[in-house]
Protein backbone atom coordinates (compact mmCIF):
# COMPACT_ATOMS: atom_id res chain seq x y z
CA UNK A 1 0.00 0.00 0.00
CA UNK A 2 1.45 3.34 -0.97
CA UNK A 3 1.42 6.27 1.44
CA UNK A 4 -1.40 7.82 -0.62
CA UNK A 5 -3.79 5.24 0.63
CA UNK A 6 -3.41 5.59 4.35
CA UNK A 7 -6.48 3.99 5.87
CA UNK A 8 -7.45 6.65 8.43
CA UNK A 9 -9.66 9.48 7.31
CA UNK A 10 -7.95 12.76 8.07
CA UNK A 11 -9.77 15.24 10.31
CA UNK A 12 -12.48 17.29 8.68
CA UNK A 13 -10.42 20.46 8.29
CA UNK A 14 -7.52 18.63 6.70
CA UNK A 15 -9.97 16.83 4.43
CA UNK A 16 -11.50 20.14 3.37
CA UNK A 17 -8.05 21.55 2.64
CA UNK A 18 -7.10 18.49 0.66
CA UNK A 19 -10.32 18.83 -1.34
CA UNK A 20 -9.86 22.51 -2.16
CA UNK A 21 -6.19 21.92 -2.87
CA UNK A 22 -6.91 19.18 -5.39
CA UNK A 23 -7.58 20.28 -8.93
CA UNK A 24 -10.80 18.23 -9.11
CA UNK A 25 -12.12 19.57 -5.79
CA UNK A 26 -11.22 23.15 -6.68
CA UNK A 27 -13.03 22.83 -10.00
CA UNK A 28 -16.11 21.36 -8.31
CA UNK A 29 -16.21 24.41 -6.03
CA UNK A 30 -15.76 26.76 -9.00
CA UNK A 31 -18.64 25.01 -10.69
CA UNK A 32 -20.90 25.22 -7.61
CA UNK A 33 -20.09 28.87 -6.98
CA UNK A 34 -20.56 29.61 -10.68
CA UNK A 35 -23.94 27.89 -10.61
CA UNK A 36 -24.93 29.87 -7.51
CA UNK A 37 -23.91 33.10 -9.20
CA UNK A 38 -25.89 32.16 -12.30
CA UNK A 39 -28.91 31.58 -10.06
CA UNK A 40 -28.45 35.04 -8.63
CA UNK A 41 -28.12 36.52 -12.12
CA UNK A 42 -31.42 34.97 -13.20
CA UNK A 43 -33.25 36.45 -10.20
CA UNK A 44 -31.50 39.80 -10.62
CA UNK A 45 -32.38 39.92 -14.30
CA UNK A 46 -35.99 39.09 -13.48
CA UNK A 47 -36.04 42.06 -11.11
CA UNK A 48 -34.48 44.35 -13.70
CA UNK A 49 -36.98 43.43 -16.39
CA UNK A 50 -39.59 45.28 -14.30
CA UNK A 51 -37.98 48.45 -15.62
CA UNK A 52 -40.07 47.78 -18.71
CA UNK A 53 -43.23 47.99 -16.60
CA UNK A 54 -42.68 51.53 -15.37
CA UNK A 55 -41.70 53.29 -12.14
CA UNK A 56 -44.39 51.88 -9.85
CA UNK A 57 -43.57 48.14 -10.04
CA UNK A 58 -39.84 48.81 -10.05
CA UNK A 59 -39.76 51.07 -7.02
CA UNK A 60 -42.20 48.90 -5.11
CA UNK A 61 -40.02 45.86 -5.80
CA UNK A 62 -36.88 47.71 -4.67
CA UNK A 63 -38.58 48.83 -1.48
CA UNK A 64 -39.87 45.34 -0.79
CA UNK A 65 -36.36 43.95 -1.14
CA UNK A 66 -34.86 46.57 1.15
CA UNK A 67 -37.67 45.91 3.61
CA UNK A 68 -36.48 42.36 4.20
CA UNK A 69 -33.09 42.75 5.88
CA UNK A 70 -33.30 39.18 7.17
CA UNK A 71 -33.46 37.97 3.59
CA UNK A 72 -31.34 40.65 2.00
CA UNK A 73 -28.27 40.44 4.20
CA UNK A 74 -27.84 36.68 4.32
CA UNK A 75 -28.32 36.67 0.56
CA UNK A 76 -25.73 39.41 0.14
CA UNK A 77 -23.25 37.63 2.39
CA UNK A 78 -23.82 34.33 0.63
CA UNK A 79 -23.32 36.04 -2.69
CA UNK A 80 -20.12 37.67 -1.50
CA UNK A 81 -18.87 34.33 -0.20
CA UNK A 82 -19.57 32.56 -3.49
CA UNK A 83 -17.96 35.37 -5.38
CA UNK A 84 -14.81 35.43 -3.27
CA UNK A 85 -14.54 31.64 -3.54
CA UNK A 86 -15.00 31.72 -7.31
CA UNK A 87 -12.51 34.54 -7.88
CA UNK A 88 -9.98 33.17 -5.40
CA UNK A 89 -10.04 29.73 -7.01
CA UNK A 90 -9.88 31.30 -10.47
CA UNK A 91 -6.56 32.93 -9.66
CA UNK A 92 -5.32 29.88 -7.75
CA UNK A 93 -6.05 27.50 -10.63
CA UNK A 94 -4.69 29.91 -13.17
CA UNK A 95 -1.37 30.14 -11.35
CA UNK A 96 -1.24 26.36 -11.07
CA UNK A 97 -2.02 25.90 -14.76
CA UNK A 98 0.58 28.45 -15.81
CA UNK A 99 3.19 26.65 -13.68
CA UNK A 100 2.29 23.36 -15.35
CA UNK A 101 3.52 24.67 -18.73
CA UNK A 102 6.58 26.81 -18.00
CA UNK A 103 7.84 26.72 -21.60
CA UNK A 104 5.31 27.68 -24.25
CA UNK A 105 5.11 26.06 -27.67
CA UNK A 106 6.69 27.91 -30.55
CA UNK A 107 3.73 26.93 -32.65
CA UNK A 108 0.59 26.72 -30.57
CA UNK A 109 -2.62 25.60 -32.17
CA UNK A 110 -6.12 25.42 -30.81
CA UNK A 111 -7.94 22.54 -32.44
CA UNK A 112 -11.03 21.97 -30.35
CA UNK A 113 -11.28 24.70 -27.73
CA UNK A 114 -13.41 27.83 -28.01
CA UNK A 115 -12.11 31.37 -27.60
CA UNK A 116 -14.39 31.74 -24.59
CA UNK A 117 -12.92 28.70 -22.84
CA UNK A 118 -9.38 29.94 -23.36
CA UNK A 119 -10.15 33.41 -22.01
CA UNK A 120 -12.18 32.66 -18.87
CA UNK A 121 -9.79 34.62 -16.66
CA UNK A 122 -9.90 37.63 -18.97
CA UNK A 123 -13.70 37.66 -19.25
CA UNK A 124 -13.99 36.94 -15.50
CA UNK A 125 -11.65 39.81 -14.62
CA UNK A 126 -13.60 42.16 -16.91
CA UNK A 127 -16.83 41.09 -15.21
CA UNK A 128 -15.12 41.80 -11.87
CA UNK A 129 -14.07 45.29 -13.00
CA UNK A 130 -17.58 45.95 -14.29
CA UNK A 131 -19.04 44.75 -11.00
CA UNK A 132 -16.92 47.25 -9.06
CA UNK A 133 -18.26 50.04 -11.24
CA UNK A 134 -21.83 48.72 -11.13
CA UNK A 135 -21.88 48.54 -7.32
CA UNK A 136 -20.40 52.04 -7.07
CA UNK A 137 -23.03 53.25 -9.52
CA UNK A 138 -26.30 51.73 -8.37
CA UNK A 139 -25.72 50.10 -4.98
CA UNK A 140 -23.47 52.61 -3.23
CA UNK A 141 -24.39 55.70 -5.25
CA UNK A 142 -20.81 56.88 -5.53
CA UNK A 143 -20.58 57.71 -9.21
CA UNK A 144 -23.84 59.62 -9.58
CA UNK A 145 -24.79 60.74 -6.09
CA UNK A 146 -27.49 63.00 -7.54
CA UNK A 147 -29.24 60.13 -9.33
CA UNK A 148 -28.89 57.96 -6.26
CA UNK A 149 -30.53 60.51 -4.01
CA UNK A 150 -33.77 60.68 -6.00
CA UNK A 151 -36.99 59.89 -4.18
CA UNK A 152 -40.30 59.19 -5.79
CA UNK A 153 -43.66 60.68 -4.95
CA UNK A 154 -44.25 58.09 -2.26
CA UNK A 155 -40.94 58.75 -0.57
CA UNK A 156 -39.31 55.61 -1.89
CA UNK A 157 -35.81 55.44 -3.28
CA UNK A 158 -36.53 56.24 -6.92
CA UNK A 159 -34.69 53.32 -8.45
CA UNK A 160 -36.52 53.72 -11.71
CA UNK A 161 -35.45 57.33 -12.22
CA UNK A 162 -31.93 56.56 -11.02
CA UNK A 163 -31.53 53.86 -13.64
CA UNK A 164 -33.07 55.99 -16.36
CA UNK A 165 -30.78 58.93 -15.63
CA UNK A 166 -27.77 56.62 -15.45
CA UNK A 167 -28.46 55.06 -18.82
CA UNK A 168 -29.26 58.32 -20.55
CA UNK A 169 -25.52 58.66 -20.88
CA UNK A 170 -24.73 56.60 -23.96
CA UNK A 171 -21.27 55.89 -22.57
CA UNK A 172 -22.70 54.39 -19.38
CA UNK A 173 -25.40 52.46 -21.24
CA UNK A 174 -22.84 51.25 -23.78
CA UNK A 175 -20.45 50.05 -21.08
CA UNK A 176 -23.27 48.06 -19.47
CA UNK A 177 -24.19 46.44 -22.77
CA UNK A 178 -20.54 45.68 -23.46
CA UNK A 179 -20.12 44.16 -20.00
CA UNK A 180 -23.13 41.94 -20.64
CA UNK A 181 -21.52 40.75 -23.85
CA UNK A 182 -18.38 39.82 -21.90
CA UNK A 183 -20.52 38.03 -19.32
CA UNK A 184 -22.19 36.11 -22.16
CA UNK A 185 -18.79 34.89 -23.29
CA UNK A 186 -17.93 33.79 -19.73
CA UNK A 187 -21.20 31.94 -19.36
CA UNK A 188 -21.22 30.45 -22.84
CA UNK A 189 -18.34 28.25 -21.72
CA UNK A 190 -19.02 28.29 -17.98
CA UNK A 191 -22.55 26.91 -18.00
CA UNK A 192 -21.71 23.95 -20.21
CA UNK A 193 -18.48 23.31 -18.35
CA UNK A 194 -19.81 23.33 -14.80
CA UNK A 195 -21.88 20.16 -15.17
CA UNK A 196 -18.84 18.27 -16.35
CA UNK A 197 -16.85 19.57 -13.39
CA UNK A 198 -19.62 18.17 -11.21
CA UNK A 199 -19.52 14.78 -12.91
CA UNK A 200 -22.10 14.73 -15.70
CA UNK A 201 -20.57 12.32 -18.18
CA UNK A 202 -23.38 11.24 -20.50
CA UNK A 203 -22.30 12.65 -23.88
CA UNK A 204 -25.89 13.35 -24.95
CA UNK A 205 -26.64 15.20 -21.73
CA UNK A 206 -23.35 17.10 -21.84
CA UNK A 207 -24.05 18.20 -25.38
CA UNK A 208 -27.57 19.29 -24.49
CA UNK A 209 -26.23 21.22 -21.49
CA UNK A 210 -23.54 22.85 -23.61
CA UNK A 211 -26.21 24.08 -26.03
CA UNK A 212 -28.41 25.10 -23.11
CA UNK A 213 -25.40 27.03 -21.77
CA UNK A 214 -25.23 29.18 -24.85
CA UNK A 215 -28.97 29.79 -24.62
CA UNK A 216 -28.74 30.62 -20.89
CA UNK A 217 -25.82 32.96 -21.51
CA UNK A 218 -27.73 34.74 -24.25
CA UNK A 219 -30.97 34.89 -22.27
CA UNK A 220 -29.32 36.34 -19.17
CA UNK A 221 -27.22 38.89 -20.96
CA UNK A 222 -29.86 39.98 -23.47
CA UNK A 223 -32.33 40.24 -20.60
CA UNK A 224 -29.99 42.60 -18.75
CA UNK A 225 -29.07 44.52 -21.89
CA UNK A 226 -32.69 45.36 -22.74
CA UNK A 227 -32.72 47.90 -19.90
CA UNK A 228 -29.86 50.21 -21.00
CA UNK A 229 -30.91 49.70 -24.63
CA UNK A 230 -34.53 50.48 -23.73
CA UNK A 231 -33.51 53.74 -22.02
CA UNK A 232 -31.33 54.86 -24.92
CA UNK A 233 -34.05 53.90 -27.40
CA UNK A 234 -36.62 55.75 -25.35
CA UNK A 235 -38.94 52.84 -24.59
CA UNK A 236 -38.05 53.12 -20.90
CA UNK A 237 -38.25 56.28 -18.83
CA UNK A 238 -40.07 58.66 -21.14
CA UNK A 239 -41.98 59.91 -18.09
CA UNK A 240 -38.73 60.88 -16.36
CA UNK A 241 -37.76 64.43 -17.34
CA UNK A 242 -34.14 65.22 -18.06
CA UNK A 243 -32.29 66.47 -15.00
CA UNK A 244 -31.06 69.56 -16.78
CA UNK A 245 -34.23 70.20 -18.75
CA UNK A 246 -35.92 72.42 -16.20
CA UNK A 247 -39.21 70.61 -16.61
CA UNK A 248 -41.54 69.73 -13.78
CA UNK A 249 -39.80 68.33 -10.70
CA UNK A 250 -38.89 64.69 -10.97
CA UNK A 251 -39.50 64.16 -7.32
CA UNK A 252 -41.29 66.09 -4.69
CA UNK A 253 -39.45 66.35 -1.46
CA UNK A 254 -41.83 66.42 1.43
CA UNK A 255 -44.65 64.89 -0.55
CA UNK A 256 -43.51 61.74 1.08
CA UNK A 257 -44.94 61.24 4.52
CA UNK A 258 -42.05 59.99 6.58
CA UNK A 259 -39.88 59.94 3.46
CA UNK A 260 -36.46 58.40 3.60
CA UNK A 261 -33.91 60.27 5.59
CA UNK A 262 -31.85 60.91 2.52
CA UNK A 263 -29.34 63.68 2.13
CA UNK A 264 -29.91 66.32 -0.46
CA UNK A 265 -32.70 65.42 -2.77
CA UNK A 266 -32.25 66.36 -6.33
CA UNK A 267 -35.21 67.76 -8.14
CA UNK A 268 -35.20 69.15 -11.57
CA UNK A 269 -33.20 72.31 -11.57
CA UNK A 270 -31.24 71.95 -8.39
CA UNK A 271 -30.59 70.44 -5.02
CA UNK A 272 -32.93 71.28 -2.21
Amino acid sequence: MTPDQSPERPCLLAAARGFVGSSVGAKALMALSGLGLIGFLVVHMGGNLQMHLGPEPMNAYAKALKGQPLVLWPARLGLLGMFLLHVGLAFHLNAKNAKARPIAYASDRAVASTWASRHMLLTGALVLAFLGYHLAHFTLGLTHADHFALVDAQGRHDVYAMVVHGFRSPVVAGSYVLAMFVLALHLSHGFGSLWRSLGTSSPALVDALRKAGIAVALAITLGFATVPIGVVAGTIGREVPRLDAGGPPVTELGAAPGGREAGPVRVAGGVR
Partner: protein, 253 residues
Protein backbone atom coordinates in the same frame (compact mmCIF):
# COMPACT_ATOMS: atom_id res chain seq x y z
CA UNK B 1 12.18 10.59 -58.30
CA UNK B 2 8.62 11.50 -59.05
CA UNK B 3 6.08 12.34 -56.36
CA UNK B 4 8.64 13.08 -53.69
CA UNK B 5 8.80 16.37 -51.86
CA UNK B 6 11.21 18.54 -49.96
CA UNK B 7 10.27 19.90 -46.55
CA UNK B 8 11.82 22.40 -44.23
CA UNK B 9 11.92 21.12 -40.67
CA UNK B 10 12.35 23.42 -37.68
CA UNK B 11 13.30 21.07 -34.84
CA UNK B 12 13.86 21.67 -31.15
CA UNK B 13 17.43 20.71 -30.22
CA UNK B 14 18.49 20.48 -26.59
CA UNK B 15 21.68 18.67 -25.57
CA UNK B 16 20.42 17.56 -22.15
CA UNK B 17 17.90 18.20 -19.41
CA UNK B 18 19.60 21.11 -17.69
CA UNK B 19 20.87 22.89 -20.77
CA UNK B 20 19.09 25.48 -22.87
CA UNK B 21 17.69 24.42 -26.22
CA UNK B 22 16.88 26.15 -29.48
CA UNK B 23 15.23 25.50 -32.83
CA UNK B 24 17.37 24.44 -35.77
CA UNK B 25 16.36 24.24 -39.38
CA UNK B 26 16.87 21.14 -41.51
CA UNK B 27 15.99 20.17 -45.04
CA UNK B 28 14.16 16.88 -45.49
CA UNK B 29 14.87 15.89 -49.09
CA UNK B 30 13.11 13.47 -51.41
CA UNK B 31 10.42 12.65 -48.89
CA UNK B 32 8.09 9.96 -50.19
CA UNK B 33 4.39 10.41 -49.46
CA UNK B 34 4.38 6.78 -48.36
CA UNK B 35 6.90 7.09 -45.59
CA UNK B 36 5.97 7.87 -42.02
CA UNK B 37 6.96 10.97 -40.12
CA UNK B 38 9.45 8.93 -38.10
CA UNK B 39 10.94 7.36 -41.23
CA UNK B 40 11.57 10.84 -42.53
CA UNK B 41 13.41 11.56 -39.27
CA UNK B 42 15.36 8.27 -39.61
CA UNK B 43 16.65 9.32 -43.02
CA UNK B 44 17.43 12.82 -41.80
CA UNK B 45 19.36 11.32 -38.88
CA UNK B 46 21.32 9.03 -41.23
CA UNK B 47 22.36 12.10 -43.14
CA UNK B 48 23.29 13.94 -39.95
CA UNK B 49 25.41 11.00 -38.82
CA UNK B 50 27.16 10.88 -42.19
CA UNK B 51 27.90 14.56 -41.84
CA UNK B 52 29.33 13.91 -38.38
CA UNK B 53 26.48 15.73 -36.65
CA UNK B 54 24.55 14.64 -33.57
CA UNK B 55 21.35 12.88 -34.71
CA UNK B 56 18.01 14.19 -33.42
CA UNK B 57 16.86 12.23 -30.38
CA UNK B 58 13.22 11.15 -30.48
CA UNK B 59 11.29 8.32 -28.86
CA UNK B 60 9.76 5.41 -30.72
CA UNK B 61 9.23 1.74 -30.14
CA UNK B 62 6.39 -0.22 -31.75
CA UNK B 63 5.92 2.05 -34.77
CA UNK B 64 2.43 0.66 -35.13
CA UNK B 65 0.49 3.05 -32.92
CA UNK B 66 0.12 0.91 -29.82
CA UNK B 67 2.98 1.64 -27.43
CA UNK B 68 2.69 5.40 -26.96
CA UNK B 69 6.44 6.04 -27.12
CA UNK B 70 6.47 8.43 -30.08
CA UNK B 71 5.88 11.97 -28.96
CA UNK B 72 6.32 14.95 -31.24
CA UNK B 73 4.33 18.15 -31.35
CA UNK B 74 4.03 18.82 -35.07
CA UNK B 75 3.01 22.34 -36.08
CA UNK B 76 1.46 22.87 -32.66
CA UNK B 77 -0.49 19.62 -32.57
CA UNK B 78 0.66 16.56 -30.60
CA UNK B 79 1.12 13.67 -33.07
CA UNK B 80 0.46 16.06 -35.94
CA UNK B 81 -2.55 17.14 -37.94
CA UNK B 82 -4.31 13.80 -38.44
CA UNK B 83 -6.93 12.83 -35.87
CA UNK B 84 -6.66 9.54 -33.97
CA UNK B 85 -3.11 9.02 -35.20
CA UNK B 86 0.23 8.56 -33.47
CA UNK B 87 3.36 10.21 -34.88
CA UNK B 88 4.64 6.82 -36.04
CA UNK B 89 1.44 6.28 -38.02
CA UNK B 90 1.43 9.75 -39.53
CA UNK B 91 2.27 9.52 -43.23
CA UNK B 92 3.96 12.19 -45.27
CA UNK B 93 1.14 12.29 -47.81
CA UNK B 94 -0.56 14.71 -45.41
CA UNK B 95 2.18 17.29 -46.05
CA UNK B 96 2.89 19.51 -49.05
CA UNK B 97 6.08 20.03 -50.99
CA UNK B 98 7.98 23.04 -49.66
CA UNK B 99 6.07 23.18 -46.38
CA UNK B 100 7.82 24.30 -43.19
CA UNK B 101 7.06 21.99 -40.27
CA UNK B 102 7.82 22.92 -36.65
CA UNK B 103 8.63 19.92 -34.42
CA UNK B 104 8.79 20.31 -30.63
CA UNK B 105 8.77 18.02 -27.61
CA UNK B 106 5.76 17.63 -25.27
CA UNK B 107 5.81 20.76 -23.12
CA UNK B 108 4.87 20.31 -19.46
CA UNK B 109 6.61 20.87 -16.13
CA UNK B 110 5.78 17.25 -15.30
CA UNK B 111 7.40 16.06 -18.59
CA UNK B 112 10.90 17.59 -18.44
CA UNK B 113 12.82 17.42 -21.70
CA UNK B 114 15.76 15.01 -21.49
CA UNK B 115 17.17 15.58 -24.94
CA UNK B 116 15.88 17.12 -28.18
CA UNK B 117 12.37 15.68 -28.60
CA UNK B 118 12.59 13.15 -25.75
CA UNK B 119 10.91 13.96 -22.45
CA UNK B 120 10.67 12.10 -19.15
CA UNK B 121 7.15 10.73 -18.73
CA UNK B 122 7.92 9.03 -15.41
CA UNK B 123 5.23 11.18 -13.80
CA UNK B 124 2.63 8.99 -15.55
CA UNK B 125 4.22 5.87 -14.03
CA UNK B 126 4.04 7.40 -10.56
CA UNK B 127 0.36 8.27 -11.06
CA UNK B 128 -0.29 4.66 -12.07
CA UNK B 129 1.57 3.40 -9.02
CA UNK B 130 -0.77 5.48 -6.85
CA UNK B 131 -3.83 3.45 -7.88
CA UNK B 132 -3.83 2.09 -11.41
CA UNK B 133 -3.98 -1.53 -10.31
CA UNK B 134 -6.39 -4.10 -8.91
CA UNK B 135 -5.79 -6.59 -6.13
CA UNK B 136 -6.35 -10.20 -7.15
CA UNK B 137 -6.37 -13.33 -5.09
CA UNK B 138 -3.47 -15.58 -6.02
CA UNK B 139 -4.06 -19.18 -7.06
CA UNK B 140 -5.44 -20.73 -10.18
CA UNK B 141 -6.56 -18.49 -12.97
CA UNK B 142 -10.32 -17.93 -12.60
CA UNK B 143 -12.67 -19.45 -15.16
CA UNK B 144 -13.31 -17.29 -18.13
CA UNK B 145 -16.76 -15.66 -17.88
CA UNK B 146 -17.03 -16.42 -14.17
CA UNK B 147 -17.58 -12.71 -13.54
CA UNK B 148 -20.40 -11.49 -15.77
CA UNK B 149 -19.97 -7.94 -17.05
CA UNK B 150 -22.70 -6.02 -18.88
CA UNK B 151 -22.05 -5.16 -22.50
CA UNK B 152 -22.31 -1.40 -21.94
CA UNK B 153 -19.91 -1.43 -19.00
CA UNK B 154 -17.49 -3.64 -20.89
CA UNK B 155 -17.57 -1.36 -23.93
CA UNK B 156 -17.08 1.78 -21.86
CA UNK B 157 -14.25 0.16 -19.90
CA UNK B 158 -12.54 -1.02 -23.07
CA UNK B 159 -12.84 2.42 -24.69
CA UNK B 160 -11.03 3.90 -21.69
CA UNK B 161 -8.51 1.07 -21.58
CA UNK B 162 -7.38 2.01 -25.09
CA UNK B 163 -5.18 4.68 -23.49
CA UNK B 164 -1.55 4.03 -24.45
CA UNK B 165 -0.22 6.59 -21.98
CA UNK B 166 1.56 8.68 -24.63
CA UNK B 167 0.83 11.99 -22.92
CA UNK B 168 -0.60 13.75 -25.98
CA UNK B 169 -3.51 14.88 -23.79
CA UNK B 170 -1.08 16.73 -21.51
CA UNK B 171 0.83 18.11 -24.49
CA UNK B 172 -2.37 19.39 -26.10
CA UNK B 173 -3.97 20.85 -22.98
CA UNK B 174 -3.53 24.59 -22.51
CA UNK B 175 -3.13 23.83 -18.79
CA UNK B 176 -0.84 20.83 -19.31
CA UNK B 177 -3.45 18.84 -17.41
CA UNK B 178 -3.26 15.05 -17.18
CA UNK B 179 -6.97 14.68 -16.50
CA UNK B 180 -7.76 12.63 -19.62
CA UNK B 181 -5.01 10.13 -18.82
CA UNK B 182 -6.03 9.81 -15.18
CA UNK B 183 -9.69 9.70 -16.18
CA UNK B 184 -9.07 6.83 -18.60
CA UNK B 185 -7.17 4.83 -16.00
CA UNK B 186 -9.64 5.48 -13.17
CA UNK B 187 -12.68 4.87 -15.39
CA UNK B 188 -11.65 1.62 -16.96
CA UNK B 189 -11.16 0.05 -13.56
CA UNK B 190 -14.15 1.74 -11.91
CA UNK B 191 -16.43 0.30 -14.60
CA UNK B 192 -15.40 -3.30 -13.99
CA UNK B 193 -16.22 -5.54 -11.01
CA UNK B 194 -12.52 -6.26 -10.53
CA UNK B 195 -11.90 -2.58 -9.86
CA UNK B 196 -14.46 -2.15 -7.10
CA UNK B 197 -12.40 -2.90 -3.96
CA UNK B 198 -9.97 -0.03 -4.57
CA UNK B 199 -12.44 2.21 -6.36
CA UNK B 200 -12.55 5.17 -3.95
CA UNK B 201 -8.90 4.93 -2.90
CA UNK B 202 -7.86 4.78 -6.54
CA UNK B 203 -9.66 8.00 -7.48
CA UNK B 204 -8.31 9.85 -4.45
CA UNK B 205 -4.79 8.49 -4.76
CA UNK B 206 -4.37 9.05 -8.50
CA UNK B 207 -5.74 12.61 -8.40
CA UNK B 208 -3.42 13.37 -5.50
CA UNK B 209 -0.44 11.95 -7.37
CA UNK B 210 -1.44 13.92 -10.48
CA UNK B 211 -1.46 17.17 -8.52
CA UNK B 212 1.81 16.32 -6.82
CA UNK B 213 3.50 15.85 -10.19
CA UNK B 214 2.59 19.40 -11.16
CA UNK B 215 0.00 18.86 -13.90
CA UNK B 216 -2.63 21.56 -14.39
CA UNK B 217 -6.37 21.42 -13.75
CA UNK B 218 -9.12 20.81 -16.31
CA UNK B 219 -10.92 23.77 -17.92
CA UNK B 220 -12.93 21.51 -20.26
CA UNK B 221 -11.26 22.89 -23.38
CA UNK B 222 -11.57 19.58 -25.22
CA UNK B 223 -8.08 19.78 -26.76
CA UNK B 224 -7.04 16.48 -25.12
CA UNK B 225 -9.77 14.46 -26.83
CA UNK B 226 -8.88 16.00 -30.21
CA UNK B 227 -5.20 15.10 -29.76
CA UNK B 228 -5.70 11.61 -28.31
CA UNK B 229 -4.50 8.98 -30.80
CA UNK B 230 -7.15 6.65 -29.35
CA UNK B 231 -9.92 9.31 -29.40
CA UNK B 232 -10.68 8.80 -25.73
CA UNK B 233 -13.70 10.95 -24.92
CA UNK B 234 -13.62 13.87 -22.50
CA UNK B 235 -16.72 12.35 -20.94
CA UNK B 236 -14.28 10.15 -19.00
CA UNK B 237 -13.00 13.32 -17.32
CA UNK B 238 -16.51 14.03 -16.08
CA UNK B 239 -16.62 10.43 -14.87
CA UNK B 240 -13.33 10.93 -13.02
CA UNK B 241 -14.78 14.06 -11.40
CA UNK B 242 -17.79 11.99 -10.32
CA UNK B 243 -15.57 9.19 -9.01
CA UNK B 244 -13.51 11.71 -7.05
CA UNK B 245 -16.57 13.43 -5.56
CA UNK B 246 -18.12 10.06 -4.76
CA UNK B 247 -14.90 8.98 -3.03
CA UNK B 248 -15.23 11.95 -0.68
CA UNK B 249 -18.28 10.35 0.88
CA UNK B 250 -17.16 6.73 0.54
CA UNK B 251 -15.37 5.29 3.54
CA UNK B 252 -12.01 3.96 2.37
CA UNK B 253 -10.94 0.98 4.43
Amino acid sequence: MSGTMNLKLRVWRQPSAGQPGAFRDYEAKDVSPDESFLEMFDRLNERLIEQGEEPIAFEHDCREGICGACSMVIDGIPHGPERATTTCQLFMRHFRDGQTVVVEPWRAAAFPVLKDLVCDRGSFDRILQAGGFVSVATGNAPDANSVPIGKEAADAAMDAAQCIGCGACVAACKNASAMLFVAAKVSHLALLPQGQPERARRALGMVKAMDREGFGACTNYGECEAACPKSISVSYIARLNREYLRAQVTPTV
